[in-house]
């Protein structure tokens, strides 16, 4: 695991895993932009790009861990979370590694949402007339002594806040992207460049991706192999739609895939790479397409944070009055216990999300009160269904179909 922020870095011997060492004076790890130590165990946390998701995860995503997103049916919102993660990396100045089998990584980076700066954010959210800052610049009547002081420039990349908000309707400017080192992996290109390699009898695409990630981590020194680098940085890895057919894996298309272990082997080796380097990874998996549920269970056990998205698009819940405020549900299947016996998990297990006025928020699911005089049968049925839905806390449980009729 990445050493706690108070422990100081211990790369003197080029040790393969970060170890806690008596601090020789400075706590250099705390100086990495865009990270903060967790309250409980000093673990370095990154923002996932969505402040509300950070709250659900207990403060943020720990460095060295894997965030697995089970895609919703059409991939709309999981793609959005993927882009938020990468956009947060751009704003914080982290390095990016984007891997995809269906879209060119440069195209993905061109479509990242634009960050909301402080004054823009106030304007977006304020219903009433927000006083624009330009009004003050013209003429100061009372504080005229301060007229000639230099104005403080708030540059977007230097915000020290943890977690930023993004405007989905605008794309990030290319100047921001220029300052970031982005590594990309586009599967069709990589397969055509070099001959296929065999690694642990794994799917060829996964093997190439692992090699590529390991090469970047080693060359750029994220695993402490170049101790002379003064400024430490974090690598954010994003892998889109892993396990889909475009990666050459058939677990999404048949019930009895030919190789059930490729994806799990890949995740195991990736876990090893993440644990020994200053990096964090987001992977979206089309879980609804994987018919062999045993594979999803194993994938869940091998990941750290597992979040499932269920959107209401196309389902009968879209028009259901109970869910009229929300666009979908979020299921947090797993939160890791890192370096401690307990984890900071939030108490609310019924979470829903909505994309409202360009902002993506995750909230506790509130069912509206049933205020009608005559409670109709159909709404009772929906209540029973939603009561079943709200029950998953420790996991699946047996609830009868009848709901108690008072």
């Amino acid at each position: 695991m990445a050493a706690p922020a108070t422990g100081g870095a211990a790369q003197g011997r080029g040790a393969p895993s970060f170890q806690r060492k008596v601090p020789a004076g400075s706590s250099r790890l705390a100086a990495i932009a865009g990270t903060r130590p967790a309250a409980r165990h000093g673990q370095l946390l990154l923002s996932s790009g969505l402040p509300s998701l950070d709250c659900v995860l207990g403060g943020g995503l720990a460095v060295g861990t894997l965030l697995l997103i089970e895609e919703d049916k059409y991939g709309v919102y999981s793609n959005l979370l993927f882009k938020y993660f990468l956009a947060e990396g751009v704003v914080c100045g982290h390095d990016l590694f984007v891997a995809s089998a269906k879209e060119l990584p440069t195209n993905i980076l061109k479509e990242l949402p634009a960050p909301l700066l402080d004054d823009n954010y106030r304007n977006e959210l304020g219903e009433a007339t927000a006083v624009k800052s330009e009004d003050f610049q013209d003429f100061m009547k009372i504080a005229w002594r301060y007229q000639n002081l230099p104005k403080v420039e708030v540059s977007p990349t230097s915000s020290a806040r943890f977690g930023h908000y993004y405007d989905v309707s605008k794309t990030m400017s290319s100047e921001l992207l220029q300052s970031i080192k982005c590594h990309s992996f586009f599967l069709p290109e990589e397969l055509s460049l070099q001959p296929t390699i065999k690694m642990c009898n794994m799917n060829c695409g996964y093997a190439r991706l692992l090699q590529s990630i390991q090469k970047i981590i080693y060359q750029e020194g994220f695993d402490g192999s170049h101790p002379q680098k003064k400024q430490k940085n974090v690598l954010r890895i994003g892998i889109q739609s892993l396990g889909a057919m475009l990666w050459g894996d058939d677990i999404c298309s048949t019930d009895n895939p030919e190789d059930t272990h490729s994806l799990t082997k890949f995740l195991y080796v990736l876990r090893g790479l993440l644990r020994k380097s200053l990096s964090a990874c987001i992977i979206t998996v089309p879980a609804h397409l994987i018919q062999n549920k045993a594979i999803m269970e194993r994938v869940t056990n091998l990941s750290d944070v597992v979040v499932g998205l269920e959107s209401f698009i196309g389902s009968e819940r879209e028009t259901n009055p109970l869910y009229k405020d929300y666009h979908g549900l979020i299921h947090v299947h797993q939160i890791p216990r890192l370096n401690s016996l307990i984890c900071d998990v939030s108490d609310t297990k019924d979470l829903a999300f909505r994309l409202k006025r360009k902002l993506f928020t995750i909230e506790r699911l509130h069912l509206p009160p049933d205020l009608s005089d005559t409670v109709s049968r159909s709404s009772k049925q929906d209540l029973a269904e939603s009561a079943k839905l709200l029950s998953s806390g420790c996991g699946a449980m047996a609830i009868g179909k009848k709901h108690l009729d008072f």
């Binding site: 695991m1 393969p16 272990h261 082997k265 090893g272 045993a294 056990n301 370096n339 016996l341 297990k349």
Partner: protein, 303 residues
């Protein structure tokens, strides 16, 4: 004497009468010092001064994370003065080290004095895949060889366990313990269920029978799990274990004060005498340095 014989004659399963479990003062005092989970030691009737010998313990979890049991047994056996071979496949060394320090045991010190042999699965796998060529030819042991080679047996891993726990001249550790976390990873990495069962069988013979040591294995899996291979392995191990600790999530869902339920099953039916298995159920709450156990429904939040 007569009372126990009369109880054994009853045909139905022997479940001890429910009583409010109040931890003794010694347990509370020990817990205050951060020494493993003293209440669990009381429940299991185990003490570091006289650890049992030749036992196979299975740790199971369903719908929750049972890894706190692994941390308990690791610190328990290190305190008891046994030589421990820990095959940690899922987490890194520093994770276990930091938790063990909270429980009062230092893993780095134990490793340095030779009491702990730690196999970090993640690091070993990376060395094997991305390591230098010279290391391969130097004959370095590769316990996780089964991942990259087509043979799906776990012979190399068993050889590693055997050599690390072999009695060596001059070591001061009387007991031998093998700790494995966790078994589902072996299946995920391509080992067949039969190969995993063979490996466990070989380990039992080598450690429990020949060396009079203990084996503790953690396996995930529930009754309604879809993973048939995992179910096969876990069910088979259940039949062969002397002690089963089964951590389950509550059937009623998430609760802030009761994190789960622990079933302790002592397989008395395996002993000569043919008694029934003893089943005890407790609920627990995990805290920062300790886990408190209480009888069902008697959580401190409710009383």
């Amino acid at each position: 004497m007569r009372a126990t014989r009369a109880r054994a004659a009853f045909p139905h399963a022997h479940v001890p009468p429910r009583r409010a479990f109040r931890p003794s003062a010694a347990a509370v005092g020990a817990a205050g010092r951060g020494a493993m989970f003293a209440e669990l030691n009381e429940l299991l009737n185990a003490s570091p001064q006289r650890p049992e010998q030749g036992k196979f313990t299975l740790l199971r979890d369903t719908r929750t994370d049972g890894s706190f049991l692994v941390h308990h047994f690791l610190s328990f056996y290190l305190r008891a003065g046994c030589k421990v071979c820990f095959v940690a496949l899922l987490q890194s060394f520093s994770h276990y080290n930091i938790v063990a320090q909270k429980l009062g045991v230092s893993l780095t010190a134990a490793k340095e004095r030779g009491q702990l042999v730690f196999l970090e699965g993640l690091a070993s796998c990376l060395d094997m895949l991305f390591g230098e060529e010279e290391e391969e030819q130097a004959g370095q042991p590769r316990p996780l060889r089964f991942i990259s080679e087509s043979t799906s047996d776990l012979r190399a891993l068993f050889d590693f366990v055997r050599t690390s726990l072999a009695p060596a001249a001059g070591d001061a550790w009387p007991g031998r313990v093998l700790l494995l976390d966790d078994l589902g990873v072996l299946l995920s990495l391509g080992a067949s269920p039969v190969a995993v069962l063979d490996f466990i069988h070989y380990c039992r013979v080598a450690v429990c029978s020949r060396l009079q040591g203990n084996v503790v294995v953690l396996a995930h899996g529930g009754e309604d799990s879809e993973d048939e291979e995992n179910e096969l392995v876990v069910t088979s191990l259940c039949h062969h274990s002397d002690l089963i600790l089964w951590a389950e999530g509550l059937a009623t869902g998430f609760c802030k004060d009761v994190h789960g339920q622990l079933k302790i099953i002592r397989r008395a039916s395996l002993q000569p005498g043919g008694e029934r298995d003893v089943l005890q159920t407790y609920q627990y709450k995990i805290q920062d340095k300790n886990v408190t156990f209480f009888a069902r429904g008697l959580s401190a939040a409710v009383l």
